[in-house]
């Protein structure tokens, strides 16, 4: 049954990629610094899913995260965050190899070895000795390979994504050498999800307060963060207002 599920999910990911590729003529640049018209053909469904996600967050996830943040001292929070980040280093290594970034891939596997051997990944010793963390994933790899983002989608419970990045996440889930070899990996996935939610807790509170349209705000923030991982000179290339004399 599990094998069948894997095959089905892989087929879905591949077909997602095909759809994404078929849209690539709409948007040829890998990062597309145009935030005004993000391709969002299923907006009403996405809005409903986002409302559902906020509802689930309000009644279940947020209380857990708040309790965790209240109980856990700062070093524990940092340690947990480091632990989950360290588990992603092998898949980062694979992604960097696929991108042709061999130095970064050596750095990732080196970081994984050092941090796992010294503290099971809870302390980032590698950064202290000059091996800085480089973020990447299969979604970024696909983008660098010319796959456009495809439509924006909000995934139930998980949150904002797009077809390309979600396909990358699905493939990652099955090819990740670490979590594939851990028994009861579902618990690990839940733990990782809660940790990621805790990491953006303050930002989410600000979105709840300061936005006239939280859907648009989250969408824009999501694309800005993804583009920052793709663009070398992201900050320099962000659009700026025309100057009016005051």
């Amino acid at each position: 049954m599990k094998k069948h599920l894997k095959v089905i999910l892989l087929i879905i990911s591949v077909s997602f990629l095909q759809i994404s590729l078929s849209h690539s003529n709409e948007d040829t640049s890998i990062s597309s610094i145009s935030y005004d018209e993000i391709y969002d053909p299923i907006e009403p469904i996405n809005r409903a899913v986002l409302n559902f996600n906020f509802f689930i967050d309000d009644i279940a996830i947020r209380p857990i995260v708040k309790t965790y943040k209240f109980i856990a001292p700062e070093p524990v929070e940092k340690g947990v965050s480091n632990f989950f980040s360290n588990l992603k280093e092998p898949i980062r290594t694979v992604s960097f190899i696929l991108q042709g970034e061999f130095f970064k891939s050596f750095n990732s596997i080196g970081r994984f070895s050092i941090n796992t051997l010294t503290s099971l990944g809870t302390f980032d010793l590698a950064s202290r000795i000059g091996m800085e963390k480089n973020e990447t994933d299969l979604g970024i790899t696909l983008a660098k390979g010319g796959v456009s983002s495809g439509p924006y989608i909000v995934i139930p419970i998980i949150g904002p994504s797009n077809l390309r990045d979600f396909s990358g996440d699905v493939v990652e889930y099955f090819v990740d050498p670490i979590s594939n070899n851990i028994p009861n990996r579902e618990y690990l996935a839940v733990g990782n999800g809660l940790n990621e939610r805790a990491e953006v807790d303050e930002q989410l509170e600000k979105v709840r307060e300061a936005s006239s349209d939280r859907y648009e705000m989250i969408k824009s923030i999501y694309y800005q963060n993804r583009n920052a991982q793709l663009e070398e000179e992201y900050i320099q290339n962000l659009p700026v207002p025309k100057i009016y004399i005051e």
Binding site: D36, K206, S212, E216, S220, N225, L238, I245
Partner: protein, 188 residues
């Protein structure tokens, strides 16, 4: 050849001079901002006035406000509508910064680096408190009289880009009505 070297040196020293001017301005204004944040003694309205003064002095409000709605809306709106929008947006910007500052515990803003592209200075800084730190970028223009901020980027999230997406959505939903946008801003 000598002339070329002299011209090159002049251009280089001019850009270094400007960069040092903008970094000086930044250090001065960021310290002032931290002073305002940490001073909790005054009444709420007194503190609000301090933020108002700070924002009016240091932000290119008109450029940001007009940039958020775009040329086509500016061209089709009346002077009165634009003036009302500018006032409401100014108030909104001050309130946003006021709220943000009140939810932040006092910390430090450390100047890191300054870069220039298309006559816009990009100041890289780091804001930190006891708990965490974040990269903070400021896009600044030189108006001739002073430096003015046109965008603030926290980690990778630009205030201008995020608000532009939000405002555009409201304008599209209301067939480009600036009045509708003003009403929405006032509701926040």
């Amino acid at each position: 050849m000598k002339k070329i070297i002299i011209i090159f040196c002049l251009i280089f020293s001019f850009s270094t001079l400007n960069a040092s001017e903008v970094s000086e301005w930044f250090e001065k204004e960021s310290n002032l901002f931290l002073e305002i944040i940490s001073n909790k003694e005054g009444t709420e309205s007194e503190n609000y006035e301090k933020y108002k003064l700070f924002v009016s002095k240091n932000f290119a409000i008109k450029s940001i406000a007009y940039g958020l709605i775009g040329e086509s809306i500016i061209n089709k709106s009346s002077e009165d509508e634009l003036s009302l929008y500018l006032n409401v947006f100014t108030d909104y910007l001050i309130k946003t910064i006021y709220k943000l500052a009140n939810s932040t515990s006092s910390g430090s803003i450390i100047f890191k680096d300054v870069d220039i592209k298309d006559n816009i200075y990009i100041i890289k800084s780091e804001i930190s408190d006891k708990k965490s730190s974040a990269n903070l970028y400021w896009k600044v223009i030189d108006t001739g009289k002073s430096f003015k901020i046109i965008d603030v980027i926290v980690e990778n999230t630009s205030y201008f880009v995020t608000k532009k997406s939000e405002f555009n959505k409201i304008l599209r939903k209301n067939r480009g009505s600036l009045k509708a946008l003003v009403n929405e801003i006032q509701k926040i």
